[in-house]
């Protein structure tokens, strides 16, 4: 990493150390090198959303970002708030994503689509139908990676440098619950005991259950003492569960098919879905995204068709 000739790549934007250019090509720290050790295909979140814009518009020229309504099933965490021009907000959602309309906040703790079928139905019915608009759903739990490569953590604004913040905290607590109970332990009960005792915490229960129901993830989380590995496994289990609850038919329909059919009847507007992992970074840097898939809804089959390969063709890391 230290010998690469990158410079001025994702240097701190507002706080802390920067880089001093002395006329030579100077090896400068690049956050991407750290992130790709865990997520080899990660790209800057800014590039990811810019690619969303170009791809969707290539499908139909009328699908400019201001004619596409975004549903964002990301974690509630304030570091997933928007980047505002001329504001020094701590949110890391890229400007290129903010170009879309909305968003409808379909998520909750760790980006699971907690707002359910009613949420997606309401969102779909808000489409800019009069101007031939489309829908875009972004589903992504999140994980922090510090600039020195500590996975599952980030450094937050206004907090001590050595006080690393577990991110996503809810995923960390859910993985902790799984480990405490062991791979062969009882299924989570709601309401139950400990962090599952409060009837207000159904979202947390949903995350615990998502991991518990994924036997492979549960086994692996219990098998490793490495916190970063636990967090990567938990995050992927939650992403996978989120993807399945939206797209996979159960009893003849999926959450999304039920919403779509009730929202549109005979009309068949285009719906794009992308899932992945949002990668938060230490405050002052720009976030990254790992793209798991990019799909388009097929109203005939009620399933999502996969366009991931085409989408990634012009998706650049930084």
């Amino acid at each position: 990493m230290a010998n690469k000739t990158y410079y001025f790549k994702n240097v701190m934007t507002s706080r802390g150390v920067g880089s001093t250019y002395d006329g030579r090509i100077t090896p400068v720290f690049n956050y991407l090198d750290v992130v790709t050790q865990t997520y080899p295909n990660a790209v800057t979140a800014e590039n990811f959303a810019a690619r969303l814009q170009t791809y969707i518009r290539s499908v139909n020229a009328s699908y400019t970002a201001n004619n596409v309504l975004l549903a964002s099933s990301v974690c509630s965490d304030d570091v997933n708030g928007p980047i505002f021009p001329n504001k020094n907000n701590l949110g890391q959602m890229p400007l290129s994503l903010n170009a879309f309309l909305g968003p409808f906040m379909a998520g909750g703790l760790d980006g699971y689509p907690h707002t359910g079928t009613t949420g997606l139905l309401a969102y779909a019915s808000h489409i800019t139908s009069g101007t031939g608009g489309a829908l875009l759903i972004y589903v992504a739990p999140h994980i922090g990676i510090t600039k020195d490569g500590q996975v599952g953590y980030m450094r937050r604004r206004g907090q001590n440098y050595n006080d690393l913040s577990a991110t996503c905290g809810a995923a960390a607590a859910a993985a902790g619950w799984i480990r405490t109970n062991g791979v062969g332990g009882p299924a989570p009960v709601f309401p139950g005991t400990g962090l599952l005792a409060n009837p207000a915490d159904y979202q947390f229960y949903t995350l615990v259950k998502a991991i518990y129901d994924n036997v492979g993830a549960r086994t692996a989380i219990c098998a490793t003492a490495n916190f970063g590995e636990q967090m990567v496994l938990a995050t992927e289990a939650i992403r996978s569960a989120a993807y399945n609850i939206i797209t996979s038919p159960v009893g003849g329909t999926s959450t999304f098919k039920l919403a779509y059919d009730n929202a549109f009847g005979q009309s068949t507007p285009d719906v794009f879905l992308t899932t992945g992992t949002f990668i938060n970074v230490d405050d002052g840097y720009k976030a990254y995204a790992d793209v798991a898939n990019f799909l388009k809804y097929n109203p005939t089959t009620g399933l999502f068709d996969d366009y991931t390969t085409q989408f990634k063709q012009e998706l650049y890391p930084d």
């Binding site: 509630s76 949420g119 309401a122 905290g169």
Partner: protein, 297 residues
């Protein structure tokens, strides 16, 4: 035909609607001023959480002419942490509050602001419970999830029995064997249950002479009260039950509650404020500042 924002104000503040409503932009500015005057916190040192509805019309005001009707003045606060869900109920629970509170900027002695508000639309023709959205020409039931909860509690076949998570879609996600879905509609069930448990409101909803528009107002108010109570309960649980040492990081949490009033696309939204309080984390007490805060309006 378009009306002026002033005329819209007259419609929103009518006695039959929300007489105490003000523009949300002014509300956001008042929050900044009041918090700084009361305790000295600048907005960029205050981390906000919004327990509001997921609806895209509650998105942020962006430079690019977004459909979101949240005030631009809110963008001076940090965040936000999204503590809500459909109907604005604080669905992220006590664990959400704990996570949010632990993100405070304690090095600079920062504070927290918890904003909770369900929403209701009012069209430029004065129709309660509706708004006209961008790219659409017909009235859109707003909040749609509250509308579904009203229908669940006034449904002839179901109104005599308490809501269940297995109620047929759209009330929850049960239904027939061929239309069972994936069982993912818990939040709607909770909204249905809030109205059911509020027997006074439920009686009013099922009265024969109440219009759907007025039912929307009654239901929104019921959900606002439940949101107010639950948001404070979640906050208190984070500091008292989950981790009392949180109060070493942050001493002040401003807690404001009301009804967010969405308007037809292109106009500025309104809000009616019910309470402004200061939660003192060390003593787990809420101090009311509603009167001095609303005196700014």
């Amino acid at each position: 035909m378009a009306i002026s924002q002033t005329s819209y104000t007259s419609i929103v503040t009518a006695a039959s609607a929300y007489p105490g409503a003000i523009l949300v932009e002014n509300f956001g500015n008042h929050c900044k001023t009041f918090i700084q005057t009361l305790c000295g916190y600048t907005a960029d040192n205050v981390l906000r959480a919004d327990s509001i509805c997921s609806d895209d019309v509650n998105g942020p005001a962006y430079y690019n002419g977004n459909i979101g009707q949240m005030p631009a003045s809110f963008n001076d606060f940090q965040g936000p942490f999204f503590a809500g869900g459909i109907g604005g109920f604080p669905f992220t629970g006590s664990i959400g509050m704990f996570a949010w509170a632990s993100h405070v900027q304690y090095v600079t002695d920062g504070a927290l602001l918890l904003f909770s508000a369900p929403h209701i639309g009012i069209t430029s023709t004065g129709r309660l419970g509706h708004m006209v959205r961008r790219g659409q020409s017909t009235d859109s039931n707003t909040c749609g999830a509250v509308g579904v909860a009203v229908l669940r509690n006034t449904n002839t076949a179901l109104s005599g029995v308490p809501p269940l998570s297995s109620d047929p879609f759209p009330f929850a996600e049960g239904g027939t064997a061929t239309n069972a879905g994936s069982g993912n509609n818990y939040q709607q069930y909770i909204l249905n249950k809030i109205l059911w448990d509020d027997t006074t409101t439920r009686r009013s909803l099922t009265a024969s002479n109440v219009t759907f528009e007025n039912k929307m107002k009654l239901a929104t108010e019921s959900i606002r009260r439940a949101t107010y109570t639950q948001a404070k309960s979640n906050l208190s649980a984070a500091f008292v039950t989950i981790n009392p040492s949180l109060s070493d990081l942050v001493k002040d949490v401003f807690v404001v509650n009301g009804t967010f009033i969405n308007v037809d696309d292109g106009y500025q939204a309104y809000i009616q404020i019910n309470s402004f309080e200061l939660y003192k984390t060390k003593t787990n007490t809420f101090v009311t500042y509603t009167t001095p805060f609303t005196a700014l309006f």
